[in-house]
Structures are given as structure tokens and as C-alpha cells.
């Protein structure tokens, strides 16, 4: 096995270096072509995202290929070899496979469990396949990595809980209202985080969207962006009872929403539940509001606490994921060790002999009328047919194995004769 994985990620390389590398990485196809031009490399995959740049390769000569891949990265990073080597990691053989599995399962991601990385690997694989850069080995590893990712997602809770403040808010809304669809939302003030939360809510098809801002023109502008209705800031107390979810993020020094305002709104709402999200610092909503019945008030620290504890539980789930990866590595190694000429010939023969035995057993009823000799002759004939049929494929395999290019043939035979099905 001569599988190499070389690369850098958010843990090993600072942003500036990753940036430099991915800036020159606008065009994945050319990079792939460049990698495939390295004579020692038989199969290659090039993966570049904002958090990582990695090359996975199957090489004839490990050391030669690594040296040339290093040159490739130094050249594109436009950095001294010394600086670059500090950021690079290099894995061989089953450790390289393990690394890819961990990346695909999103254990190696900056935000553990995020789903994008799998899509990015699939894209990189598609590009590689389209340019004939992959073969038996890489195809197998990549397909297996997709399966690992699927298993980890369904068998562990790694992607279960929200790990961003805005998603945490959406999940809380679900715990309170059941369905978010049709709930009215009020956005007070502008800010990146509150707008992000609003966007998440809109994607769940909320009902009406109201927007208030001290500068009315700003509210009107935002209302256009969100297809909502602008409200004058002074009219807020009058309109509060119409909404189910309020997100505040103004720069106001004092409280924008006070207990009497919320109490009045709850009365007009006939005690229907109200969810308040205060993302502003300093706070926009008087904390005493949280004491009111049927009102749920969360500020930025509360949401951040949820995110932190969710991240912790993702880390626990990651340990389960490592077990799954170990299992899959074992499966991969089994598959790989079968990819040799001798075991393949043996299992091919076993399969054929099994078929003969089965057929003779099936025919035993009418064969009872035959004499012992006649029966033996039939068995001899069946065996010699099988030997004739197998002769050419086996000779071919042995010839190919002399110059190390038997892999595709072995894989094809194993696949076509179903030698790996148990």
C-alpha cells in the first residue's frame, strides 16, 4: 500500500497561510492536473475548502511522491519550505485512510459535526473522477468514507444539537411552539447575529415579519430585504401582542422592553406564549421580564451556554464515531489484503468448486441410477470444464502481477465473480 495524505487544516496552519494557499486554489482542475503529472502518482484527489487543503494520492514510490507533493504545496503557498513544513501533516497508508474518514465524518472540522465537508469531499471526488484521476483504490476509499460519514451521522448524535447561537434560538422556538411555521416574528434593531437568526426563522416559513429600528428608514430598508413590515419605534408597545417571537439587538443603552410592556402584551395575547431573544450588549430587555408567566427570555449568554454544552456533547459523540471509524478501517484493510493475486485465485477456485459440489448434490436423485465409474467421470468432466474456463483469467492475472498493474483486474474479477459477497 502506498497511500499518502498530505495537507494542512485550521488546526495546523494559521489563517494567513491557508488563505494564501486557497487563493491560488481558485481552479481545482488545474491543480489536479498538476498533481497527476507527478510520475510517481497513479491516483489523486485534491480537496480545498476554507479550512483545509489536502491531497490524497496512491503512489508507486512513496518517498518520491511525497517530495514532489511538498514542492507542489510550497510553490503554491509561495512560502519558504521551513515555514510551510511546520503547518503540514503527512499520513501514510491506513493512517491516511483514517484521516480521510475522520474528515468526511466531520470530526476534524472546525465546528465538529457540520455537514458541508461531506459535500465538499464529494465534489472533489467528482472532479477527480471526471478527470480520470482515480482508480480502484481511491474509488474504494472515497466510497467507504461516504459510508463512514453516513454511519456517524445516523449512529451518533454528533450533528444533533445546535452549535451556533442563531440555530440554538431556532431550536428553542421549536421547543416552545412546536412548529415555527406561521409564527409572527419581530426584529428590533439591526445586527449580523439577529439578522442571521431572522434568516433561519424565515427559512422555516414563519408568518409575518415585523421590523423596528430607531432610524425608521433603516427599518423600511430591512423590511424590503426580509419581505416584512416596518414598524415605527414608538409604536412598539402597541404592536407587541401581534408577535410570537421577538429578537432584539439595538445599541440602546437602556432597556427597550420592560415588564409592564410585556405584561400588557401577554394580556392582549390572552396568555399565548411569547419567546424573547435578546442578542444585544448591553441588554435590550429587562431581565425581570423572564419572571412573567408564559414568557421565555433568553439573552446572548444563555444562548452561548447552550451552544457550549452542545459542543461538549458533540465531543462525547465523537468518541463513538472513532469506534465506527476503527471498524471501517478494519473492513478496508480486509478488502485491501484480498487485492492480491494468490488469494484471488484461491477464492475463485473455491467458488467454482463450490458450484460443482452444489450442482452434483442437486442432481443426486437421478445420478443414483449411474454406476460408481459413471458418476466419477461426470465429476471429472465438470472439474475439467472449470479448469479450462479459469485457465486464461488465471494466467492473465499472474502475468499482470509481474509488473504491479494487476489491481484493476483483481478488483474486476472479485466484483464480477462476487468473491467479496459473503
Amino acid at each position: 500500500m502506498n497511500i499518502i495524505l498530505i495537507g494542512m487544516n485550521h488546526k495546523t496552519a494559521p489563517l494567513e497561510i491557508r488563505e494564501r494557499l486557497s487563493l491560488s486554489c481558485g481552479d481545482d482542475v488545474n491543480h489536479l492536473a498538476e498533481i497527476m503529472n507527478i510520475p510517481e502518482i497513479k491516483e489523486g484527489l485534491y480537496l480545498a475548502t476554507c479550512n483545509r487543503v489536502e491531497v490524497l494520492a496512491n503512489a508507486t514510490d512513496g518517498e518520491g511522491a511525497v517530495a514532489r507533493l511538498r514542492d507542489f504545496i510550497f510553490h503554491h503557498g509561495n512560502l519558504s519550505a521551513e515555514e510551510m513544513s511546520k503547518c503540514l501533516y503527512l499520513h501514510h497508508d491506513h493512517e491516511a485512510v483514517r484521516h480521510l474518514f475522520r474528515v468526511a465524518a466531520s470530526i476534524d472540522s472546525m465546528v465538529m459535526g457540520e455537514p458541508q465537508i461531506l459535500g465538499q469531499i464529494k465534489d472533489a471526488f467528482r472532479t477527480a473522477v471526471e478527470h480520470n484521476a482515480t482508480g480502484v483504490i481511491l474509488n474504494k476509499i472515497l466510497h467507504q468514507s461516504f459510508r463512514v460519514a453516513k454511519r456517524v451521522r445516523s449512529e451518533t448524535g454528533i450533528a444533533n444539537n445546535a452549535v451556533s447561537v442563531s440555530f440554538a434560538a431556532v431550536e428553542l422556538a421549536k421547543k416552545i411552539f412546536g412548529v415555527i411555521e406561521g409564527r409572527n416574528v419581530l426584529l428590533i434593531g439591526a445586527g449580523e447575529m439577529s439578522e442571521l437568526a431572522a434568516k433561519h426563522l424565515i427559512s422555516r416559513r414563519v408568518g409575518k415579519m415585523f421590523i423596528a429600528n430607531r432610524t425608521y428608514a433603516r427599518a423600511v430598508k430591512m423590511a424590503e430585504d426580509f419581505h416584512g413590515t416596518a414598524i415605527e419605534f414608538d409604536m412598539l408597545p402597541e404592536r407587541l401582542h401581534e408577535v410570537d417571537i421577538v429578537i432584539t439587538s439595538t445599541g440602546a443603552p437602556g432597556y427597550v422592553l420592560t415588564p409592564p410592556m410585556i405584561e400588557a402584551a401577554i394580556r392582549r395575547r390572552k396568555n399565548r406564549l411569547l419567546f424573547l431573544i435578546d442578542i444585544a450588549v448591553p441588554r435590550d430587555i429587562d431581565p425581570a421580564v423572564g419572571e412573567i408567566d408564559n414568557v421565555y427570555l433568553y439573552n446572548i449568554d444563555d444562548l452561548q451556554d447552550i451552544v457550549d454544552s452542545n459542543l461538549k456533547s458533540r465531543k462525547r459523540e465523537a468518541e463513538k464515531a472513532e469506534t465506527i471509524i476503527d471498524e471501517e478501517i478494519t473492513k478496508y484493510l480486509e478488502w485491501y489484503s484480498a487485492l492480491e493475486v494468490v488469494p484471488t485465485i484461491i477464492s475463485l477456485r473455491e467458488k467454482m468448486e463450490g458450484i460443482i459440489r452444489g450442482e452434483i448434490a442437486k442432481s443426486s436423485a437421478w445420478m443414483e441410477n449411474l454406476t460408481e465409474d459413471e458418476r466419477r467421470n461426470i465429476e471429472i468432466m465438470a472439474n475439467s470444464i472449470i479448469n479450462k474456463v479459469l485457465h486464461d483469467p488465471i494466467t492473465g492475472l499472474k502475468e499482470e502481477s509481474k509488473d504491479n498493474s494487476a489491481l484493476p483486474y483483481i478488483a474486476a474479477i472479485r466484483r464480477l465473480f462476487g468473491l467479496d459477497d459473503k
Binding site: G157, L172, K175, I176, G178, K270, N271, N294, I306
Partner: protein
């Protein structure tokens, strides 16, 4: 023969209760989904038991105190399963199935033999009275489960303890809706049940109402629920207050259901 189905139902209720509690412990919805099917089969066995008893004896299968408990368990499970079809409140089963199982245990104490029904009770009115009243009470029990879960979930959300436990509990709005629906239905059925009962009482005891301890406590519970419904419908009570009051009203109902039979001398006790 029919008693086999009773015991089968009892065992399967236990199985589903364990399944539901397991799903709470492991926080896995799949486990709860399987438990719902187990509960469904327990309900099916239990239904068969009632049907066979009815056919065999040709009389109302819910007469004695123990039969009432068993019918209570059956009604609760059935109503929950019906809700399960319509709402995302699977975890409610973790409250319903243990209660059904415990009721079955209590009922099993005196279930093997057949009771012969006194002539006075062989009226169809009695069957209707018992079935309406007990179904109504089972609905109240379900409303109480939903109310208890509401208070737990609310406590978690108010105190910002959004653990994975709060994740498996249904949303506040769903729980409040179940509480509301169960109260409305339960109140209607209990009212009808009491009316039918007093019509029968008039024909046997000569008057509509005796101020018997059992009747008095049931009336008290009925009033508690009437107040609660009024607050909900007219005053717009929702959520916390409604859930809390449901628990209180059910406590009164429990006295009328269980304690009066054990502690007081009551004319309402026949067998």
C-alpha cells in the same frame, strides 16, 4: 381463556412502559417509536379480553372496582394512541404506559373470577354510566400527564436548562393543546356519565342524588374541572396556570375514585 388475554396485556403494558422509559434514558426517539407499537399490541390484547368477557357472560364487563381499574387503563392507552396519530407527543407514552401497567397490576388482584351482578345493576344505564364516567376520568388522567410534562418542560426552559432531556419532551404548545382537548372531552363525558347515573339512581333509590361520600367527592372534582374550563375558555388561562390547576383538580378526582372506596362507607360500592 379470556384471562390469558388480560395477563398478556398486563405483561405487554410492562414491556411498553420499560421501552418508553428506556427511550427517555437513552434519549432515542426510535426506541419510543417501537414502544408505541408494543403499547398498541397491549391495547389490542386488552380489547380482546373485554370483548371475550362480554360475549361469555353477556353482561357489562365493567362492574367491580377492579374491573373499573382495568377499564381505566384501557381507556387511557386507547386515548393516548389516538392522540399519537395526530400529534408529535410520543414521549407522553412514557407517562401513560407505566400508569396503565400499575392500574392493571391493581386490577389483576381480583380479575380471575367472574362476579355475578346484582339485579339492580343489570341495567344498560349502569353500563353507559360507568363507561362514560371512566372514559372521562381517563381523559382527565391524560390531561394531568400532559400538565405534568408541561410543568417539567416549562421549568427546564425557564431555568435555561436546555438539556437533551428537554429535547425529547414535546413542545409547550403541543402539551397545552393536549391538556385543553382532554379537559373539554373529559368534562363532557363525565357530565353525561353523572347524569346517566342519577337517572338510574332515581329508578332504584328513588332520588337523583344521595349526598353519598363518593358522589360528593365526584361533584367536588366536577366543580374543580368546571372552574378550570371556565378559566381556560373565558379568562384565557394557558400554559403554566392551567397545567398546575389540572394537577390539583386531578388530586380531588383521585380521592373520589380511590379513597372513597377504601375509607368511607358508600352506597356507591356494590361488589
Amino acid at each position: 381463556m379470556d384471562i390469558i388475554f388480560f395477563r398478556l396485556a398486563l405483561a405487554v403494558y410492562l414491556l411498553s412502559a420499560l421501552g418508553y422509559l428506556g427511550s427517555l434514558y437513552t434519549r432515542r426517539v426510535l426506541v419510543a417509536r417501537v414502544s408505541t407499537w408494543i403499547l398498541f399490541s397491549a391495547f389490542a390484547f386488552h380489547t380482546l379480553f373485554f370483548a371475550m368477557r362480554c360475549i361469555k357472560t353477556g353482561q357489562n364487563p365493567v362492574v367491580s372496582f377492579h374491573e373499573m381499574l382495568s377499564f381505566f387503563a384501557w381507556a387511557m392507552a386507547g386515548i393516548y394512541l389516538a392522540f399519537q396519530l395526530k400529534t408529535k407527543t410520543r414521549v407522553l407514552g412514557a407517562f401513560v404506559s407505566p400508569v396503565s401497567f400499575l392500574l392493571m397490576i391493581a386490577a389483576s388482584k381480583d380479575m380471575a373470577g367472574y362476579v355475578s351482578i346484582p339485579a339492580a345493576l343489570q341495567s344498560n344505564l349502569v353500563a353507559v354510566h360507568v363507561i362514560l364516567a371512566v372514559t372521562g376520568e381517563a381523559l382527565f388522567a391524560l390531561a394531568t400527564c400532559a400538565g405534568a410534562m408541561y410543568l417539567i418542560q416549562e421549568g427546564l426552559l425557564k431555568n435555561k436548562k436546555v438539556s437533551s432531556f428537554s429535547k425529547v419532551l414535546p413542545s409547550l404548545t403541543d402539551l397545552d393543546r393536549i391538556n385543553h382537548i382532554c379537559l373539554m372531552l373529559g368534562f363532557s363525558l363525565l357530565t353525561l356519565g353523572i347524569l346517566v347515573g342519577s337517572i338510574w339512581a332515581r329508578s332504584v333509590w328513588g332520588s337523583l342524588w344521595q349526598w353519598d361520600p363518593k358522589q360528593t367527592w365526584t361533584l367536588a372534582a366536577w366543580f374543580a374541572y368546571a372552574v378550570l374550563l371556565h378559566q381556560r375558555l373565558a379568562m384565557g388561562w394557558k400554559g403554566h396556570k392551567a397545567a398546575l390547576f389540572t394537577l390539583l383538580a386531578f388530586a380531588v378526582l383521585l380521592i373520589s375514585l380511590v379513597l372513597t372506596s377504601l375509607l368511607f362507607v358508600t352506597a356507591h360500592r356494590f361488589i
